[in-house]
Structures are given as structure tokens and as C-alpha cells.
Symmetry: C2
Subunit: 194 residues, 2 copies
DNA sequence: CCCTCATCTAGTCATTGACAAGTTGTCCTC
DNA sequence: GAGGACAACTTGTCAATGACTAGATGAGGG
């Protein structure tokens, strides 16, 4: 096992799984999941056209692996957060920093819904998502959580689909999102906005 | 011209464009845009495999037409609304009533971005979206609008991707959304929530 | 030394999108 | 009502892809 090194001279690629994953993320970020082709990824990695299938089974398997990795990354990202506003900020930052993951994570049509690793990672992310709001006073925690999630998710989605680029301008999207969270957090902690 | 009637005995289908559109919406709603095949749509309509391309150019053209139709429908839906909360409610209702349209509308990778009909319809919908919040006092109208849009869009997206089905339960999603809008509209009109 | 097994190759098949060329029917004009 | 222009549709074809099968390669273990 030669970890990390891509040794092209050998019959075995050495790290094909990772190479395919990385290339796939590039393609998806650039042209969307529809542009993803296993054969193209194989060409990029310099292996035969059927090699990627060995690691992921099929195209759906590859996308499922990406989604699972994405939910894991999201869970890790949220775990470091403090409070509702910060978690929302981190959510938006995750989406814009990992657009390919984000897209695939929320495209159930492309995924194998019953994949164990996917469901586990999703559960982990869901727990982190809920952990951010359980301590909120006044409002029903579940409703608050879904409102916050909707706000962050909606903004991230609209940003990634180029629907709010004018408003955000050159600002990092998570900074702009801070403006939006005022509507929620003002109420949550009792501090008036404006 | 035989309007509306699908006369199968003739060489000309009579209303192939509409038939293909309808079938495409069915497929997308059931299995997502990735499952869409022009040849399959042709089979469903009982025409030759290249017939759909005559009306839409190519696969991207078909999806672009669907997106344009979707933005038109959304604009019409919003136009009848009164106030911010009602428009949000209508937005969610549109998304859940027309899931195929909604999905395609916000998948820029699948669309021809410079299509005239698409950009026109999008502009119309955008204007309606903005019209709902221009009269709001206190807050910056643009920021308010984007927050409201993010909230509605995020909730609709999460609902369609089966991420909040537990919380919503058997309720019509737009009814559940009313609970969420309290966080925004309470502030906007000065009425305290809870 | 050989055996096992994960990794990768090579070949094949059905399906698809796209394109080209031809056919059919309709409508417009004279 | 004949002819021509044109839109609607068909037929045939090609390259690309996903999926599958069988086989080759090489690394590590007993």
C-alpha cells in the first residue's frame, strides 16, 4: 500500500478511489451532476473505463459516496459552532465551500436512499443541526430549528443557483447571511433588530 | 388546427409539444430530471424517437421550456397574493404543487441560461417576488425580500427532498410554513408572536 | 513457493442524444 | 383547385455512456 502517492507506473493506481472522488467533485462543481461520466473520470485518472465501477459499483454508488462524505463534512463543520447564528453561518459557508457535495446531498433522485453510510452520515448531520437550537427559549425548538434550517438552506441554494448574486455582491455569502439571521436571532435572544 | 384534440390516426400528432411536456413533468416528478429521456417521451406519445427534438431542439431545450413555463406559473401564482406571508405561502404551495417545474427551475446546469423566454419568465417572477416586500416598513426591503425568499425556498426545497417530512406530518406543507413565517412577519408588522 | 484476493483491464451490449436526409400533410397563394 | 412552401414527423446512423462479464496483474500470507 503506497498511501497518498499516485504511482502511475504500476498496474495498480494506488489511490484510485480518492482520485475518482476528487475528479468527480471538480466536474460536478463546474458543470453539475448531470455532466458526470464514469468513463470521463476514468480517463482523467488514467485508468481503464471500468475501473471506477470497481470502487463505487455504479454511477449512483459514486454519487451516494459523495453525499455521505458531504453529510459527514457538514456534521464536522457544524460541530464546532456556537449558537444558532454561528451554525447558520457555518451551514452557508459549507454549502459555498463544497458546492458539489451540497448539490448531491440534496438530490435524492441521484442517490441510493438506503445506503448505510449515507443514512449514518445524514443522521449525524441531522443531530448537529438539531443540537444548535435545543437550548432556545420562548419558541418551540423544533419549529425554530426548521425555520433556521430553511433560511440557511434556502439562501445557500439561491446563492449557488445564481439567484441572489446581485444582492450579495462581492461579499462572502456567509457575511451577507449574517444580515438575514437578524430576523431570526433577534427574536430568539430578545434583542431588538434594526 | 385541431385544438386540444389528440388525433392519433393522423400522421401529425396534433399536440405533440404539449404531450411531451406533460409526460416530461410526470417523469421528472416521479424520478427526477436525470431520468428524463427524449426517446422515452417519444415512446409514451407514440411517435418516432426524433419527434420531440423537433419541438424543443434537444434535451436542454425541453428542460429550458419547462423552467420557463415554471417561472411563468410562479409569477401568476404570486401575482394574486396579498402581503408577504401570503406570498410565502403561495411560493411553498407552488413548489409542492409543481415539483417538477420547481426542481428544473433551480437547476441551472440543466438549462440554456440565455434563452429569451426563460429570462423573460424569470424576470416576471422576480418582479412579483420583489413586489411583495417593497411596502415593508422598518427593514431594508431588499434584505427582507431575500430573507423571505430564502425561508420559503429553503423550506420548499427541504420538503421536496424529504428532509422535513417528519416535522410537517400530514399537514399541507403550506400550512406548516405558516408557523415558520411568524418569525419574519411578526417583526415586519410589529405584532408579537406567541 | 503457491494461493488467495483486491485491483484493474479488455471486450461487449443495450440505450441514449444528436444529427442528417427524406416523407407526409397542411395551408397559402394564385 | 393546382402548386408550392413549410411545419411536423420518420427513418437511419453515429459516437458516447452505463453496466456487465471474463480475464489479467500484482501484493501479501501461509
Amino acid at each position: 500500500m503506497t498511501p497518498g502517492k499516485t504511482d502511475r507506473s504500476t498496474y495498480h493506481h494506488g489511490d484510485l478511489r480518492q482520485a475518482v472522488l476528487t475528479a468527480a467533485l471538480d466536474v460536478i462543481a463546474a458543470d453539475g451532476p448531470a455532466a458526470l461520466s464514469l468513463r470521463d473520470l476514468a480517463r482523467r485518472a488514467g485508468v481503464s473505463h471500468a475501473a471506477p465501477a470497481h470502487h463505487f459499483g455504479d454511477r449512483t454508488g459514486l454519487l451516494t459516496a459523495i453525499a455521505a462524505q458531504g453529510f459527514g463534512l457538514l456534521a464536522d463543520t457544524l460541530a464546532g459552532g456556537t449558537g444558532l447564528a454561528d451554525r447558520g453561518r457555518r451551514y452557508v459557508r459549507f454549502a459555498t465551500a463544497h458546492p458539489a457535495h451540497f448539490q448531491v446531498m440534496f438530490a435524492p433522485d441521484l442517490l441510493r436512499a438506503d445506503d448505510p453510510e449515507l443514512t449514518a452520515a445524514r443522521a449525524r448531520a441531522g443531530a448537529e443541526l438539531r443540537a444548535g437550537v435545543t437550548t432556545l427559549p420562548g419558541r418551540d425548538a423544533r419549529t425554530t430549528g426548521i425555520a433556521a434550517w430553511s433560511l440557511a438552506h434556502g439562501f445557500a441554494t439561491l446563492y449557488l443557483t445564481h439567484n441572489v448574486t446581485d444582492a450579495v455582491g462581492p461579499l462572502p455569502p456567509e457575511d451577507y447571511f449574517d444580515l438575514l439571521t437578524g430576523f431570526l436571532t433577534d427574536r430568539a435572544d430578545g434583542t431588538p433588530g434594526t
